[in-house]
């Protein structure tokens, strides 16, 4: 798989620490919702660093690839991508990568998405692809974040959960919940899984993404309510949510 060069055409802050980078990649071969890319940065003395980022945008015909990057406090690459990178700069990408953690429109069964923090990114690509193709596959999203300000794509998610053929959306706040929120702040637990995810007898295909500890916990809760482990697809972002 070769390295391709994309040009930054737009930047959009999702939260105080996360930014979506829109790239135009002239020779982009297309991708499937859920795939990721490796991004390589090279300093003028030849030093290089590689990180993986999920593609946030749905497949499209415009050679457009969007990545949403969260700035990590001690990151080496994420501070550069979220603060230094400017429109017009070029970025090297390798991909698209991955054939397992993907959703295709041929899948018509109920889909359960479970996101922890920045794990929402590849799931958003799936949600966007479903919307742009008009698929009526039943989708539910359980999105766990620390606090309201940490939500990515809030407006898009709002729009997609409001209309016909909607995605059923549940937020779970782990540290700080909005005022008057019915559920006190806390990690997702068996009760929330039972209340908000597809019943396991419907044999949903589940996609769980986020920091490693979140994924292990959420996947465990999904199997505990009867989902077959073969029906649970996972993507782990490492201890802090950063890959590599």
């Amino acid at each position: 798989m070769m390295w391709r060069v994309g040009t930054v055409v737009a930047l959009h802050d999702e939260t105080a620490t996360a930014r979506t980078i829109a790239l135009k990649v002239p020779d982009w071969p297309g991708h499937i919702a859920g795939q990721h890319v490796d991004v390589r940065l090279t300093a003028s003395d030849g030093y290089s660093a590689v990180r993986s980022y999920s593609i946030a945008s749905a497949p499209n015909a415009e050679k457009r690839v969007e990545l949403t990057v969260e700035r990590l406090p001690n990151g080496e690459v994420s501070p550069y991508l979220t603060q230094e990178l400017a429109v017009g700069d070029r970025l090297e990408l390798r991909g698209p990568i991955g054939g397992w953690f993907v959703w295709r429109t041929q899948q018509t069964e109920p889909i359960q998405l479970v996101a922890g923090g920045s794990g929402i990114v590849p799931l958003m690509a799936m949600i966007r692809w479903r919307a742009s193709t008009g698929s009526t596959a039943p989708f539910r999203l359980l999105y766990s974040v620390r606090e309201p300000g940490a939500v990515f794509y809030r407006d898009d998610l709002q729009a997609l959960s409001d209309r016909d053929n909607k995605v059923t959306l549940t937020y779970a706040y782990t540290r700080v919940a909005p005022k008057d929120w019915s559920r006190p702040p806390g990690r997702i637990d068996a009760a929330l899984i039972a209340q908000t995810t597809w019943p396991s007898n419907l044999s949903p295909t589940c996609y769980v993404c986020g920091p490693t500890s979140f994924v292990e916990s959420a996947a465990g809760l999904l199997t505990a309510i009867g989902n077959n482990p073969d029906k649970i697809r996972t993507e782990r972002f490492g201890p802090t949510g950063d890959r590599k």
């Binding site: 991708h31 990721h36 890319v37 397992w100 890959r243 590599k244």
Partner: protein
């Protein structure tokens, strides 16, 4: 297993897809692999992956034994699959949309 405790520092097989595309032309993350140590058969995407190392090391999610190692040297790359009994790849699914 034993009294040692393990933290959630690993990635998973998905993260190795880019590096392993140097060797595998078909998607390896969806491939099923059988651990030669404990016999567990799982998707490679579920393998515990350690990439912050001189090479890629994938470990069985069940028993933590090494199932795959990959190093890219100067003119040669080294692949050790001795920890895996077999790898079953799906040749039917294209990677593009």
């Amino acid at each position: 297993m034993n009294s040692h405790t393990y933290e959630y520092e690993y990635l998973d097989g998905n993260a190795a897809g880019g590096e392993l595309s140097n060797i595998f032309t078909m998607d390896v993350t969806a491939a099923k692999g059988q651990c030669a140590h404990c016999g567990a058969t799982k998707r490679f995407a579920e393998a515990h992956l350690y990439m912050q190392a001189p090479g890629v090391v994938a470990r069985c999610a069940v028993c933590e034994h090494v199932i795959l190692r990959f190093v890219k040297g100067r003119q040669r790359a080294f692949l050790d699959l001795s920890g895996m009994t077999c790898l079953i790849l799906d040749t039917s699914q294209p990677q593009e949309c």
